[in-house]
């Protein structure tokens, strides 16, 4: 087997657009994705849902995915759904498990289009059954056409929260109440970015329309919520919350959906040694990339929300630009041709990015989510509390990797995807250091759990033909 020119990890907006563009330049492309169908999270199940009533309900931005998926299917890129990537060795050799069997894929270049995940925002009781993320609620609507059976509570902040509530109401779901955690004063600090945001006036109006829909629906909205606690033994039974003005209330609840924005999925990039930098305005690490999306590791490119949160449209544009960069590196097209071909995408991308500073400032999460109180579970997998992490900090000035070694936080199956940032923030606060100085877990393979049986099924790639 000859190495593929380009291995793309992820078939969301960025991965699909990159595959289409790369194929157009004549590269052979393989796309692996752990989901069973193309579309990523934003266009989840687009191929089956687009033509149904549910598709209409999910709206135009969702239906945009249909054309993208069609173009991807027609591109001639090889596509492996249901395939989990758990290691990439330099060279490159990608280790992938599919249906219980592991294999090695050799590739000349890599594009990571791994998207985003919701920002973990620990609070007391957040591991109880009955609590899901808002993103999970929306995925259930897309994938299974299902909504909370009883009036549901929602807590958090961000555009996805408003969008999901609008979709839920339209679908006939009921909202018991919305605990809006957006801190006071966020709008005024966001306003200075408004002139830039006005360049993306369509999306701005969409956001305003969602807010108006909510207001018209009469959903109970409690503003400036500062603290949330989930109460229950085996399942969520009640929610206790407090607002900035000191009001406290406890409500009975059997379902709560939470959301505090999204962050780039950077685990694969970190494991490959691609350099990242701390983005203070988005409270997360983002990979350092050149104008074509190439990371500090040569021939490793990154596009989409995994390169920094910017939304689906920007993701597709960045995928297209990265594919042109990759085709240039592999000598398939000249730098001049790539520069020319990327012009329309770059112009559109600039418009897409114009709204971000406004959104980032408006929905910047409250500080409290980064420094949970002592009782709160930080590492969901190993059930390590904030108290245990702080106790470590008192023993000296440990970094995240010492904390991991001593407490097992970050060692469970999720590999620190849920606790990484919280551990870093707790240590930074306790040790009076900057987040950047504290760093992040060292990410090591396997990136996803692998069984011995799967390892035993590994075969070396066949000799080059």
């Amino acid at each position: 087997m000859k190495p593929v020119d380009l291995l793309i990890v992820g078939s969301g907006p960025a991965g699909m657009a990159a595959a289409v563009t790369a194929r157009r330049t004549g590269l052979d492309v393989l796309v692996v994705d752990e989901q069973p169908a193309p579309g990523g999270q934003i266009w989840r199940d687009i191929e089956t849902v687009a033509g149904t009533e549910r598709g209409t309900l999910l709206g135009a931005a969702y239906l945009d995915g249909r054309r993208a998926a069609e173009a991807f299917r027609a591109s001639g890129a090889a596509y492996e759904p249901g395939a989990q990537l758990w290691q990439i060795e330099p060279g490159f050799r990608g280790f992938v498990t599919k249906a219980g069997e592991a294999r090695i894929i050799e590739a000349r270049t890599i594009l990571l289009a791994t998207g985003a995940q919701e920002r973990p925002a620990p609070f007391p009781g957040w591991t109880l059954p009955g609590i899901l993320t808002v993103g999970a609620g929306q995925i259930l609507l897309k994938n299974a056409g299902q909504v909370p059976a009883k009036p549901v509570w929602l807590a958090g902040s961000g555009p996805l929260m408003l969008l999901y509530m609008t979709q839920l109401l339209k679908a006939g779901g009921e909202i018991a109440g919305y605990l809006d955690t957006t801190p006071p004063g966020r709008l005024s600090s966001a306003l200075r970015y408004l002139p830039g945001a006005l360049r993306a006036v369509g999306d701005l109006f969409k956001g305003i329309a969602w807010s108006l829909t909510l207001r018209a629906s009469g959903v109970r909205r409690i503003r400036h919520v500062t603290d949330i606690e989930a109460v229950g033994t085996e399942h969520l039974e009640a929610i206790r919350f407090r607002t900035a003005s000191g009001t406290e209330e406890t409500v009975q609840a059997d379902a709560l959906l939470v959301h505090e924005g999204v962050i780039p999925s950077v685990h694969v990039a970190l494991a490959l040694g691609s350099a990242v930098t701390w983005r203070d305005d988005q409270d997360c690490y983002v990979p350092i990339l050149d104008a074509w999306g190439e990371s500090s590791q040569p021939n490793v490119f990154i596009a989409g929300d995994g390169a920094g949160i910017a939304g689906a449209k920007a993701a597709a544009l960045r995928g297209e630009i990265a594919a042109l960069g990759i085709a240039t590196k592999l000598g398939q097209i000249t730098p001049e041709a790539a520069a020319e071909a990327s012009k329309p995408a770059r112009a559109k991308l600039e418009r897409e990015l114009a709204l971000r500073p406004f959104l980032d400032a408006l929905f910047r999460p409250r500080e409290a989510i980064f420094i949970p109180d002592d009782e709160t579970v930080v590492c969901r997998c190993e059930e390590i509390t904030a108290r245990e992490i702080r106790a470590m900090a008192r023993l000296g000035r440990p970094g995240p990797n010492q904390v991991k070694a001593f407490t097992r936080a970050g060692m469970g199956p999720c590999q620190g995807r849920q606790c990484g940032y919280t551990v870093t923030r707790i240590l930074a606060a306790a040790e009076g250091r900057s987040v950047e100085e504290v760093g992040f877990y060292r990410i090591r393979p396997p990136l996803k759990p692998v069984t011995l049986g799967e390892l035993a099924s590994l075969r070396e790639p066949e000799a080059t033909s």
């Binding site: 752990e34 989901q35 069973p36 999270q41 199940d45 089956t48 009533e53 549910r54 249901g82 219980g100 995940q117 919701e118 591991t127 109880l128 059954p129 009955g130 609590i131 899901l132 993320t133 993103g135 999970a136 995925i139 259930l140 994938n143 299974a144 056409g145 299902q146 909504v147 909370p148 059976a149 009883k150 679908a171 006939g172 085996e234 399942h235 059997d254 379902a255 999925s265 969901r380 997998c381 190993e382 059930e383 469970g412 199956p413 999720c414 995807r417 849920q418 759990p449």
Partner: protein, 98 residues
Amino acid sequence: MFRKLHDPGQAALRVYIDGVAVPAEAGESVAAVLLRQEAVWSRLTPVKGSKRAPYCLMGVCFDCLAEVDGVGSVQTCLTTVQDGMRIARQRGKRSLGA
């Protein structure tokens, strides 16, 4: 905890959760089916034995792990239901046989 908005009609399937037959629909995830049950939990944690249910639905939290057709620690949010599938809530660590 969740309800379907529509009747699956032709796409209706049957799966078994801890031996009990429950309806499902072609194309949906195992986690989605679990979340429609009276008891939504998918596993007991290996450390403290606490109940967990599907949480993120996008493959990053690993709280939806369960045993599917005899294989332990399967991410049920990434697994599409198949007719006759046998799902067992996972109690603690994956057993050696699964």
